[in-house]
């Protein structure tokens, strides 16, 4: 029987990063959700969420307007994203508009000029769907390839759980969902130093960003991580491409990075090539 959490249709919000830079991430998320029986609807008019870091750094007012436009395009099903940035940005805009009637009225008036009616559908990262006990049971039953004893580090991504006032998902400082999902396929959780520290990617200062990712990779290596599991396209790029750049400069880590949907789809018997694993900078061949 289909778990209750999956009985509705979701509007799928792919986001710019996966759509234009990491299609393998989008492929694996769609494949996983489809395999679990989630119906996804595409909305071609979705634009950038917009980016809660760069775009919002220019203008918070414009960020709110474009987010409201995305939320109002399809006043139907709830939205599911594959990127914590998109989920956090849209949820925060929804929260702001929900709390401030006057602001919401002025945004609604602007949207009317586009022929849209302000709507505030619930927006979530797909990991929130996977937190449903029924869905977890279903995943466990479908596992055909186990990763028993594989030492898997996880990195959650800040925007997956914060700001908690708008996102409402897990413990905002110590989430557990990735570690729990890994254990469904037998992988072993690794508690490396500074596990919950940001990946550094959104800092607009390259030196700060690089020192953070280097620190984290060293901590993972010291703790014996054989793979790193992430749930954010920006974190993915920071650890995959960022690691390749550090290795070119003499660093040595050798920690392949998988999106949680790639890991779960592999465990559920999907072909590595169909999940685009060959596109990764740090090749995950040793895992397969």
């Amino acid at each position: 029987m289909k778990p209750e959490a999956l009985k509705q249709e979701f509007s799928f919000f792919p986001g710019c990063m996966a759509r234009l830079k990491l299609p393998q991430v989008e492929r694996s998320v769609r494949t996983l959700l489809e395999d679990l029986g989630v119906s996804l609807k595409d909305e071609p008019r979705f634009t950038c969420c917009p980016d809660p870091v760069m775009f919002r750094s220019a203008s918070r007012d414009d960020w709110l307007l474009l987010a409201a436009r995305n939320l109002s395009l399809d006043s139907g099903p709830p939205i599911v994203t594959l990127c914590p940035g998109c989920a956090s940005s849209l949820s925060e805009a929804r929260h702001v508009l929900d709390e401030d009637e006057e602001l919401a009225a002025s945004v609604a008036a602007r949207l009317r000029k586009l022929g849209l009616k302000l709507a505030l559908p619930h927006t979530q990262h797909f990991l929130q769907i996977l937190s449903d006990p029924g869905v977890r049971e279903d995943i466990a039953e479908r596992v055909t390839m186990r990763f028993d004893g594989l030492k898997a580090g996880t990195h959650y991504g800040c925007h997956l759980v914060r700001p908690s006032s708008a996102v409402h998902f897990e413990n905002p400082e110590k989430p557990t969902c990735l570690d729990e999902l890994l254990s469904l396929a037998g992988a072993e959780r690794v508690d490396y130093e500074d596990k919950y520290l940001c990946c550094g990617r959104p800092s607009i200062d390259d030196a700060t960003s690089r020192s953070i990712v280097e620190h984290k990779l060293k901590a993972m290596k010291a703790a014996g991580c054989e793979v790193l599991i992430v749930a954010c396209p920006f974190c993915f790029e920071q650890f995959d491409l960022g690691q390749a750049i550090l290795e070119r400069k003499g660093g040595s880590f050798g920690i392949p990075v998988l999106y949680i949907s790639q890991f779960l789809s592999l465990a559920m018997g999907r072909d590595p090539q169909e999940l685009g694993l060959e596109l990764h900078r740090i090749k995950p061949n040793g895992l397969l």
Binding site: C16, M17, R19, L20, K21, P23, Q24, E26, R27, R30, D42, P44, R45, F46, T47, C48, P50, D51, P52, V53, M54, F55, R56, S57, A58, S59, R60, D61, D62, L65, L66, R69, R110, K113, L114, C158, H159, R162, P163, S164, P172, E173, L197, C198, G200, R201, P202, S203, I204, D205, A207, T208, S209, S211, I212, H215, E274, G276, L279
Partner: protein
């Protein structure tokens, strides 16, 4: 520590009021686990809020200000016991810098891309081919046609 200006920067006063920075009692919890404070030399959120409250604008805005080092991780906003949302203060300072035309090129580029094409980045031939091979819907980059007008309407 800072010389308090007789004539305060109105922009900072507005930020102090709107973003609740005035409630800050400089306890420093925002500095404790701040990644940007830990991994750089000159980013200190508490110092930034103090300057905002005192109306001391020097070094707070502009392309070379430490405000761009923030990773937007929200740890400070989760922990602040005074109910200040430190990240919102940083974003307000970044918005002010943008308005003054003094912000990093990357921010301007992302904004221009979103307003022009609706997305950050470009639909390259490589991406079109990869998406087709992976049986993904075509990636459009022409959703932005009405966005510039939409946000500029008074």
């Amino acid at each position: 520590m800072y010389r308090i200006e007789r004539s305060r920067d109105d922009n900072l006063t507005r930020i102090a009021m709107l973003e609740m920075a005035r409630l800050c009692y400089t306890c420093g919890i925002c500095v404790g686990d701040c990644p940007a404070a830990r991994f750089s030399d000159d980013f200190n959120p508490r110092q930034i809020f103090l300057k905002v409250c005192l109306g001391v604008g020097e070094g707070l805005t502009g392309e070379d200000s430490p405000i761009w080092k923030c990773t937007t991780c929200y740890t400070c906003s989760e922990r602040c016991p005074a109910g200040v949302k430190p990240l919102d203060v940083i974003l307000a300072l970044r918005n002010l810098s943008f308005k003054q035309g003094a912000c990093p090129e990357g921010v301007k580029a992302v904004r221009a891309s979103v307003l022009e094409k609706g997305v950050v980045g470009a639909v390259t031939q490589r991406i079109t081919d990869l998406r087709k091979r992976m049986n993904l819907p075509e990636a459009g980059d022409d959703q932005g046609s009405d966005l510039e007008q939409f946000i500029s309407e008074a």
